[in-house]
């Protein structure tokens, strides 16, 4: 079990499975009606969405709102570094958002890992497949 301190932007508690994306433009790369990543069909609904960096059109904020609107929101979004498009989307959709995830922790996490994050930004990695290999 590993504990990491994150910076909360939109606070909240969440526990769930990791879905990890290195670079993401919400507009064009996320389908809010289906709750999936367009490129590979991975589900983001009820997951902890971990993002390296985000980019692209500012309409992305409405896509994040759309995830909530269609009942497909992730339980939380965790980023290495946030930016206005995601912050705006997370606030208007009320999805917990954290930043300052250390790069080495990002690299260590993979899809299906179990993590927990609380209001103060304490991230607990409960089960990480790559952790066992070490």
């Amino acid at each position: 079990m590993i504990k990491v301190k994150l910076k909360p932007i939109v606070g909240g508690n969440a526990t769930g499975e990791v879905v990890k994306v290195e670079r993401l433009s919400f507009y064009g790369e996320v389908d809010p009606e289906k709750g999936i990543l367009v490129a590979d069909g991975r589900e983001v609904k009820d997951k902890i969405l971990i993002i390296g960096m985000s980019r692209g059109s500012t309409v992305g904020s409405y896509i994040i709102y759309g995830l909530k609107y269609y009942g497909n929101a992730p339980k939380a979004i965790i980023m290495i570094k946030s930016e206005p498009i995601v912050i705006t989307g997370a606030v208007i959709a009320g999805i917990p958002l954290y930043e300052a995830l250390p790069r080495e922790v990002f690299d260590m996490l993979s899809d299906g890992d179990e993590v927990e994050v609380d209001e103060q930004g304490n991230l607990i990695i409960k089960k990480a497949s790559r952790l066992k290999e070490r």
């Binding site: 939109v10 500012t58 904020s61 409405y62 269609y70 946030s82 206005p84 912050i87 930043e99």
Partner: protein
Amino acid sequence: MLQLTKEEEEMLNGKRGEGIARAMEVIVKVAESLDAPRLQPIRHAHVSGVSYGTIGEAGASFLEEIASLGARVSVPASVNPIGYDPESPNGKGILKIDRKFMEGQRRILKALGRMGFTLTLTCTPYYTDFLYSLNLSQGDSVAWGESSAVAYANTVLGLKTNREGGPLALMAAITGRTYYSGLHVDENRIPDTEYVYNEPVDEAVLGVISEYLAEKHESERPPLVRTRRRPREYEVREFAAALGAAGSIAMAVLPGITPLPRRPSISHRDEIDHAWVKSRLSDLKPTVRPDVIFIGCPHTSYEELAIINKEIQDKVKVPVLITLSRDVYIKAKETGLIESLESKGVTFLRGTCLIISKTRELAVATNSYKAYFYLSKKSNIKEVGLQPLPLLMRMARGEEL
């Protein structure tokens, strides 16, 4: 540490209503993440992302929700083009809009109207009577969402705005505030890198130069771009739009055009390679006879209409579509320009644009790098070619290029 005024605290705490609190929360969170010391009052906001074709059901529902929470604009605020011309919804045979699209678009307009937005429906707020009436002056802070207008505001008008994007500009309109950071800070507007281009320029060349800058320009400061002659007003507008499409540059400095708070001290110089520019231009040229020549991305100016009217003497051989704001249309109607151009076979659409609409299958030639950039990604567009206005005019007259 972000310092809020008493009034801003009250907005955030919900004392001024739930709608304004939601909007303030967004501005404050963004300000905190950017380490802004305070918020910046603004004199005007311009909101992009209001076409149903772009923001869809989710965007429409959000606008309705925040309007129903009682959010109202607290500064004069205008909006971008929508998915069709409200006065010719059939798109004069060029657009293809279905009933669902129109209903969604109407919901968006209703929500915006309820919040007190002035429905200018243009990406060129700087050509509207609404903006003229505000008497803004150089150095005033605004919050604009439309990237082409952002670059025009900073580069030409000396108005200060970051590239806010649609949703943030909306929150700024409601709160009358944005974050004090980026281009609102005088020092950040002073360039440290100069790019020189010694060959003739036009808007197509400047479009390609914007690609070069998107790739090469690393400084956080605006690039200073020195060209052999001072570009014309509409060429600068196309350049501003191209900067926002090819990359995320929100301001350039053009000698003799851009107002600056102090003289720049250049620490890095770069000569833009002519051969590269020429080869890119030839890549982007039209290869087929276009179904339509598209002018007006961003929306055309009155002066540009006058140039076009002079260049086209007889009936056009290739259809010409011009998109523009209602304001410029009315002015050109009064002076007879619209009638003259229509008699030569030119079609006008107001308050909309091909990029954010739905079109029938088309091959397009345009002088807008931005239109080239976005239309080439749309499935109904067979080809987009880029040519400067004088060559488009020759094409319209049926001359072989």
